[in-house]
Symmetry: C6
Subunit: 218 residues, 6 copies
């Protein structure tokens, strides 16, 4: 049922956390790979800031594709469609960045996401996790929905003091600094990098990824 944690680990399905005027809420993120031309489609009444989060998350995953074992051809010959049910409810803000990124890595690698994990955090193009608002309400919503583990930005550790003791006890709360930390927990197994030299462009030629990989450090 919508508003509850998923019951199985699934590919492309990630549980984010939203803050609304009437409290926190579960925010389900769904991604699909469909034949296309490397574009991203987004539906679910997303606001401008969240649309930019989607774009940045997609670029982040593309820039690290080799490291995640994602073949360039897969990216070039498909589109990703990301949808946030429920379609009539407006959603906005940057704090789903980490969840969106996780969904894209999952759907492009075929690795399922742990269904009992939720997360909140803005992501930068380098994968850094930035501070978000509404931590208390989001943790309460996670607990209500049956979530066991919540990933929060390290920069929000200071806000845990405001969270009721029983909530902190009931949840495993993991502060994270970088997308690597997020993926380590959220994916059911870790992506394997493509072997060196395996990066081919669409003409079947080996691509020099030295410039690309210089962007990966953090």
């Amino acid at each position: 049922r919508h508003g509850e944690a998923e019951s199985d680990d699934q590919v492309g399905i990630v549980t984010g956390l939203a803050w609304t005027q009437v409290g926190g809420e579960i925010l389900t993120i769904e991604s699909l790979v469909v034949p296309g031309k490397g574009n991203i489609k987004q539906t679910g009444k997303l606001g401008d800031v969240m649309k930019e989060s989607v774009s940045a998350a997609f670029s982040y995953v593309k820039s690290r594709a080799a490291e995640f074992g994602i073949d360039q051809t897969l990216l070039e010959k498909n589109d990703i469609h990301v949808h946030l049910p429920e379609g009539a409810v407006p959603k906005d803000g940057p704090s789903a960045g980490g969840a969106l990124t996780t969904s894209f890595v999952s759907v492009l690698t075929g690795i399922p996401v742990r269904h009992d994990v939720a997360m909140t955090g803005e992501v930068t193009l380098r994968g850094r996790i930035l501070e978000i608002g509404g931590l208390k309400e989001k943790l309460l919503a996670a607990l209500r929905a049956g979530i066991k583990t919540v990933l929060i930005p390290e920069a929000n550790e200071k806000d845990l003091a405001d969270v009721p003791e029983n909530v902190r006890q009931a949840l495993t709360i993991i502060p994270v600094k970088h997308m690597d930390d997020v993926l380590d927990v959220a994916l059911t197994r870790q992506p394997q990098a493509l072997p060196p030299g395996a990066v081919m462009d669409k003409n079947g030629e080996q691509t020099d990824t030295s410039v690309l990989s210089q962007s990966y450090q953090h």
Copy 2:
């Protein structure tokens, strides 16, 4: 006559149910396949949320094309045009998602839709059927129009208590959780999956659909 159930099972024609300020209404959905490039055209004064429903429904069908027996070439060399008469009446909301999806599967497989079935329900990218509003008014409209069977979201079963006894008696009301349940009832026969290995891309090469199919589970 518009506002009544169809008199024959037809390809691409699905009866949805709308809720308006003056009660429920029949919502006819028409889809056509025309030569094109894999795009979708939509007409009938659709609001932004319904346009996103169309886009999500189309991606859902594309992601499961092999399972529905829909050849990739058919998708690549044609457009789908979906139209909701009457063209001057604004329509919006996510609750036609299931009906739109059914229309697309029908028009792409050539399998007619049962003319005495109506349906309401938001659909997610995974095919899950989500709760809708205005159930009572929609069932009344279905009955008035001569519909025999109505598919409703399982999450709306709780609302049946508000529906007059005679309406519930006169209609076969089937709660559904997933598009598979919808198609099982609404199509006059079930789609046959393409045989394994039959998925060809436009260059006539076999496509590795392992990543795609991982998205299908639900």
Copy 3:
């Protein structure tokens, strides 16, 4: 002179009927085929609903092209430009659907349209003719303009009771349910279907139109 019936049967020229706050009016529709890429251009200060009517009419004609004897190559290598003089007068609404469809069939088949026929009626993607408003005013305008025969939606027969007896006597009023009924009257001769197997795509290969033709039934 503008505002009067045409004096000759012409290709692509159809007389529609509009309803305005000051009464009914003749609405001339002009279509041209120009070299292009299968697009449609529309001019004449058309509102959003009428623009969607144009799009739906064009898809309807494309989906039935073989039946109308229209070669796929003609559609692919040309654009249609539809213009509604007078260019400074805003026009809107769905009720020119039948007239637009007739204009497109005419210009693509080269079959002239009867100059003494006018018509009104929304069209669905299946070619069904839907009810319109302002019947009385439209019939008065047709009579004033020298029209002999008017096609009206069957669903509007009920409104004929409001039309003055002398108008009904002076005009041949033909209720229609489907575009086929419209074309039977409006075209100076009937289109001939392409022979089976004659449908070629742009690579000169025969196209399997079985899915397409399943959409044609009504």
Copy 4:
């Protein structure tokens, strides 16, 4: 000097006539052919109705290209840029249709336009000239600017009674019904049709223009 008739017959330069709140005005129209892809660019602060006039005029010329001796390749490998000086003054309305069409025929055939001729009139896709407003003010502006001959819509002949006798005496006023009448007067020599069979598409294949030419009649 701007606001006066041209002093030489030039290719692509046509004198239109505008009506403003403070009287009539000369409206110079300039067109250029530049290498491109068959598009049309328009500058000079044109309103939406005038932009549609440009589009319709361009389609008209394209549909009759063979008749005007305009090679298809010329249309496909070039753009037309039409500009209306002065760039800061807004211009709108459909009545420059005939002048725009004349400018396009001139620039595509290389035939100069008579510099002492001005014109006003909406044009339909079939080349019909429709009634315009502000005739008196426009004729006064033409006279002031040193124009000798003015083409007006035949439907405006009735308005000549309002034009001062001395203006009617000083100008040669020619009522026109169709673009053919306009071009007969405005061009310094008449276009020669391409020889039958000379119409090639961009692959060097002969094109069947029978459908196209059926649109030409009027």
Copy 5:
């Protein structure tokens, strides 16, 4: 320093003159050639009228490319980026037309522009220089900035009576009627036309430029 005349003759850098509510101002125009597809990019908070001036100036230069010695390949395989610093200050109006055109000719021919020359004047598609406003303020700004020579529209000679005697003495003021007059003064050397027959299209075939060149006369 911004707001002063340039200290060297540079390629693509032209000094225009703007009129603001608080007096005249120097308007620096910068153009660059970058690899691309024949498009033009414009930045610097340009209003709609100035954007159209850019478009018209670019078409003018393209239509006379052979005369300026500009190879068609250079135009097809590059974009022009034109920028007007300071980026936060809105700029509008048609009077920079001549300066924009000069910048484009300079950057496409590699011929530097005289740094001690400023100019003002709208340009038509034929290269005619049209009257502008604010002459006195613009000349004062030019003088303040250290400019020696100012090109003004011939149609503005009448306004020189309002310009203080000392300003007229300190500046060389040259009335111009056509872009040819502008380029004769502003460029450090004159462009050389391509030899007849040297005009190649991108397939290496000789292009028939007879239609194009007919547009050049003025």
Copy 6:
């Protein structure tokens, strides 16, 4: 932590300085190279003026690519994505031009940017650094964030008198006139120009860059 200087020299990461109503702020700029077609994507709630700064900075870098040792193929087969965290905070103005340019040079050459350097300054298409506002607040923000060296426009040297003595002592403040001055300080090593004759276009043919290089002088 966001709002502090970076702790390592990184590729594509530059520290700009923003002025807000409540004081100065650190503005982190992140760029990534992702496979694409030579386009630039920008996210982070950028206003129109800043978007134009991005476009101008990108053209500047492309026009000097050979000088920076950036291969044309790298530009043609990739996109740059530039993001300014935090995604919900609006950013605007031209003064990040120098920082954006530095980020693009860094990410395209793989040369890290010094983490203890911040900068402010509008850039022109020629690479000139123009005056900015809010110098005092920006320097205070740089100091607070742990920055050691700040590049400011030479035109702002006059404003240093308003900056507290202790701030001027604690920072190395370097006035700059041109992007070359910026890159000399900000990059950890200097780019090496491509050898003459090494500039290839995408067909593997040597490109004549003489026109391009004429634009480089300043």
